[in-house]
C-alpha cells in the first residue's frame, strides 16, 4: 500500500488532479496549515491571559476576534479537512474501488474550502463560533460578521458534498465480494459521520441564511426587536452542532481503530461492537442538543429530556474505550509514535467524557456552564482526542505517503510534550471553571487562585507550542531526508499480516 507522491510531479498537476490520493494530499497540507495558524492564535490568547490586565493584545475587540477565529479555524479548517484527507486516502482503498465515487465533486468540495477560509480570516469576526443573536445581528461589526456567515455557508456545502461522496463510495462502490460487515472500521467511521452530516448540516445552513437576512434587516427571525426569538437560533444551531461534535470525533476514533490493533499485534477485540457503537452514537447523538441550553430558561421537563438524551449517548462512547483496552490487553504492544498518540488520546477521551457527564447533570451544569470548565471539557475532545488521534494517524500514514520514515525520537518527544501540555492547559481550565472564571473574557480580576491557574495553563500552551515546532521540523525535514521506509512493514511490527489493506489500488 503506497499512497504515492514518491515520483515528484509539478505542484499544479496535483492541484488540478481529481485522483483521491491527490485530493487527499491537498486536504492534508491545507488542514495542517490551518492547524498552525489556529494554534498561533491560541498561543496569543494564552499569552494575554497569563496575567490580569492588558499585555500582549491591546484591546478587547482584537481578543474577541482572535478567539472566534481560533475556534472556527480549528474546527472547520483543521479537524474536518484533516478527516477528509484521511478519508480520501483510505476509504477507496479500504472498499477496494479505484477512486472516490465522484472524483470531480470530490475536488470541488476541496476547492470550496480555501475561499471559505479566506473569508473567515480576512473578515476576522468577533461573535464567537456560535454567532449568537441578537449580538450577531445588532451588535457584531460588519463586514467581518457577514464574511464569516458566507464562509461557514460555503464550508457547509463542501461538507455535504464530501459526505455524499463518502456514503456513495462506501455503500455503492465497495467491491462486490465485500459485505458491508467487512468494511474496515475506519471506513465505517466515515460512513457514520457522513450520514450525521447529511441529517444535521441543513438545519444550520437554514439558520445561517436567516441570520444573514436578519442582519440585512429584511427579516426578524431571531431579533426580538422585530418579534423574533434568539432562542430559536440556539435550537437550530445546537441541533446541528451537537451531532457535529460526533462528526468530529468519530473519524478520529476510526483512526485509532487502525492504529491500536496494528501496534498491539492483535486483531481488534470486537469489530461488531465498534460498528454498533458508531451507529448508536450517530442516532442517539441527535437527542441531546439542548444540553447546551439549560440556562436559557427551559422548563424542568425539557431539561430532563435532554439530560436523559445526553446520558444515553455515553455507553456508546464507553464501548469504544472498552474495545481499545480489550484489544491492547495481552497484546505485544509496540509503542511507536502513532501508538503513543492513540493511547494518549484514549486516556484523554475518557477524562473528557467524565467531565461531559458532569455537564449533563442539570444542577452541576449551572456551576460549569459558560465557564472555563466547558472550554476544558471540549478541548479534551478536540485537542486531546481528535487532534491526538489525527496526529498519531499522520505519523502512521507518513511512510506510505512520502516513502520515508519520520524521526522516531522527535515524534516521541512531540507526543510527550503535547501530552503534558494538554493536561496542564485543559485540566487547569476545569479547575478555573469551578472557581467561576467565565469563558471568552479578555481580562480577569486579580484573584490569586485565578492567576495561578491561568499561569499554569499558559505555560502548558507554550509547551504544546514548542512540541508543534518539533513536529513541523520533523515532517518537513524527513520528507526529503528521512530514512527510506520499508513499504512492507514500515514500523517493524512483524510482517504483512498486520497491514491488512495491502489490496492494490486498482488504478495502479
Amino acid at each position: 500500500m503506497v499512497l504515492e507522491l514518491q515520483k515528484p510531479r509539478p505542484i499544479w498537476q496535483i492541484m488540478f488532479s481529481t485522483h483521491h490520493t491527490d485530493v487527499g494530499l491537498l486536504y492534508l497540507i491545507m488542514s495542517l496549515g490551518f492547524l498552525f495558524l489556529g494554534g498561533a492564535l491560541a498561543l496569543a490568547i494564552r499569552a494575554e491571559l497569563f496575567l490580569p490586565g492588558a499585555q500582549i493584545i491591546g484591546d478587547a475587540m482584537t481578543f474577541n476576534r482572535i478567539f472566534t477565529v481560533h475556534g472556527t479555524t480549528l474546527i472547520f479548517l483543521f479537524i474536518i479537512p484533516f478527516a477528509s484527507a484521511v478519508g480520501n486516502y483510505f476509504v477507496p482503498i479500504m472498499v477496494r474501488y479505484k477512486d472516490m465515487a465522484y472524483p470531480k465533486l470530490n475536488a470541488i468540495a476541496f476547492w470550496m474550502i480555501p475561499p471559505a477560509g479566506a473569508l473567515i480570516w480576512l473578515g476576522f469576526a468577533d461573535f464567537t463560533w456560535y454567532a449568537t443573536p441578537p449580538y450577531s445581528i445588532i451588535s457584531a461589526p460588519g463586514p467581518a460578521a457577514d464574511m464569516w456567515i458566507f464562509g461557514l455557508k460555503i464550508l457547509g456545502v463542501s461538507s455535504v458534498l464530501g459526505a455524499i461522496n463518502f456514503v456513495v463510495t462506501i455503500l455503492k462502490c465497495k467491491h462486490p465480494d465485500m459485505s458491508i460487515g467487512q468494511v474496515p472500521l475506519l471506513a465505517w467511521s466515515f460512513l457514520s459521520s457522513s450520514l450525521i452530516i447529511l441529517v444535521a448540516i441543513p438545519t444550520f445552513a437554514a439558520a445561517l441564511l436567516m441570520l444573514l437576512t436578519d442582519r440585512l434587516g429584511v427579516t426578524g427571525f431571531f431579533n426580538p426587536a422585530m418579534g423574533g426569538d434568539p432562542i430559536a437560533y440556539a435550537h437550530l444551531f445546537w441541533f446541528t452542532f451537537h451531532p457535529e461534535v460526533y462528526v468530529l470525533v468519530i473519524p478520529a476514533i476510526g483512526m485509532m481503530y487502525e492504529i491500536i490493533p496494528r501496534f498491539s499485534r492483535k486483531p481488534i477485540y470486537s469489530f461488531n461492537s465498534g460498528i454498533f457503537a458508531f451507529v448508536l452514537l450517530s442516532i442517539v447523538g441527535f437527542s441531546s442538543w439542548a444540553h447546551h441550553m439549560y440556562a436559557t430558561g427551559m422548563s424542568f421537563t425539557e431539561k430532563t429530556v435532554f439530560m436523559v438524551g445526553t446520558l444515553a449517548a455515553v455507553p456508546a462512547s464507553a464501548m469504544h474505550v472498552y474495545n481499545f483496552i480489550a484489544t491492547m490487553w495481552n497484546g505485544r504492544i509496540k509503542f511507536s509514535t502513532p501508538m503513543m498518540w492513540a493511547v494518549g488520546g484514549i486516556a484523554l477521551f475518557f477524562s473528557a467524557g467524565a467531565g461531559g457527564v458532569a455537564n449533563a447533570a442539570m444542577p452541576l451544569d449551572f456551576t460549569t456552564h459558560d465557564t472555563y470548565w466547558v472550554v476544558g471539557h471540549f478541548h479534551l475532545f478536540v485537542m486531546g482526542t481528535i487532534a491526538f488521534g489525527s496526529i498519531g494517524f499522520l505519523y502512521y500514514m507518513y511512510p506510505y505517503v512520502t516513502g520515508r520514515m519520520y524521526n522516531e525520537a522527535m515524534g516521541k518527544i512531540h507526543f510527550i510534550l503535547s501530552f503534558i501540555g494538554t493536561i496542564l492547559v485543559f485540566f487547569t481550565q476545569h479547575v478555573l471553571g469551578l472557581y467561576g472564571m467565565p469563558r471568552r473574557i479578555f481580562d480577569y480580576p486579580p484573584i490569586p487562585e485565578w492567576i495561578a491557574m491561568n499561569q499554569i495553563a499558559s505555560v502548558g500552551a507554550m509547551v504544546i507550542g514548542v512540541s508543534m515546532v518539533i513536529f513541523l521540523v520533523n515532517m518537513i525535514h524527513s520528507a526529503g531526508k528521512g530514512e527510506p521506509a520499508n513499504p512492507e512493514d514500515p514500523f517493524g511490527v512483524g510482517g504483512k499480516y498486520y497491514y491488512p489493506f495491502e489490496a492494490k489500488n486498482p488504478s495502479h
Binding site: A60, N64, D126, F127, T128, T132, P134, Y135, I138, S139, A140, P224, A225, G228, D229, P230, I231, P267, Y269, S270, F271, N272, S273, A295, T296, G297, F300, K303, T304, M307, V308, L311, A312, V314, P315, A318, M319, Y322, A326, V357, A360, A361, M362, P363, L364, F366, T367, H369, D370, T371, Y435, G436, P438, R439, R440, I441, F442, D443, Y444, P445
Partner: protein, 143 residues
C-alpha cells in the same frame, strides 16, 4: 469477532448504563428541589445591558452594579435584557440564568451569611463582556 466470550463487555456496558441512571436520577431529584421557589420570596428585577447590571427591588428602589440583600431571606430574580444575551451569575451561590431580550427568566436564592460576592456576566455580549461585573452585598436582616 468470535472466539472470545462477550460477558465482560456486557457487564461493563451494564455498569456504565447503571452509573448513567444513577447520575440522571440524582440530578433529577436535586434539580427538582433547587427549582422549588419558596413561598413569599422577594422579587428582584434584574436587567442586563451592554455592559452593566441594574436591579430593582419590590419597593421600587434601584441599584446599578451593586445589589444589597438581607441574610436569611429568599429572593427570586426576574431576569431580562434590553439588548443582547447576557447571563446573570453569582458563582458563590450557583445562581446562573441567561438574560435574554424579549423574555423573563427566573431563578431564586437565599443568602445564608453576611458578606460580599462577585456578580458577573457569563454569556458573551461583546466588547466589555469581560468587565460586566458587579457586587452582591449580603447584610444582617434590617427588621
Amino acid at each position: 469477532m468470535g472466539g472470545h466470550s462477550n460477558w465482560p463487555e456486557w457487564i461493563y456496558v451494564g455498569a456504565v448504563v447503571a452509573i448513567m441512571c444513577w447520575v440522571g436520577a440524582e440530578a433529577w431529584e436535586a434539580e427538582r428541589l433547587v427549582e422549588h421557589v419558596p413561598e413569599g420570596a422577594e422579587i428582584i428585577k434584574v436587567t442586563g445591558q451592554q455592559w452593566f447590571w441594574t436591579f430593582e427591588h419590590e419597593d421600587g428602589t434601584k441599584e446599578i452594579g451593586e445589589l444589597h440583600v438581607e441574610k436569611g431571606k429568599a429572593y427570586k430574580f426576574e431576569i431580562h435584557s434590553t439588548d443582547v444575551n447576557h447571563s446573570f451569575n453569582i458563582h458563590d451561590y450557583v445562581v446562573l440564568m441567561d438574560a435574554i431580550p424579549g423574555r423573563v427568566n427566573t431563578v431564586w436564592f437565599a443568602p445564608d451569611a453576611v458578606g460580599e460576592h462577585d456578580i458577573q456576566c457569563r454569556e458573551y455580549c461583546g466588547l466589555i463582556h469581560y468587565n460586566m461585573r458587579g457586587t452582591l452585598i449580603v447584610e444582617e436582616p434590617h427588621s
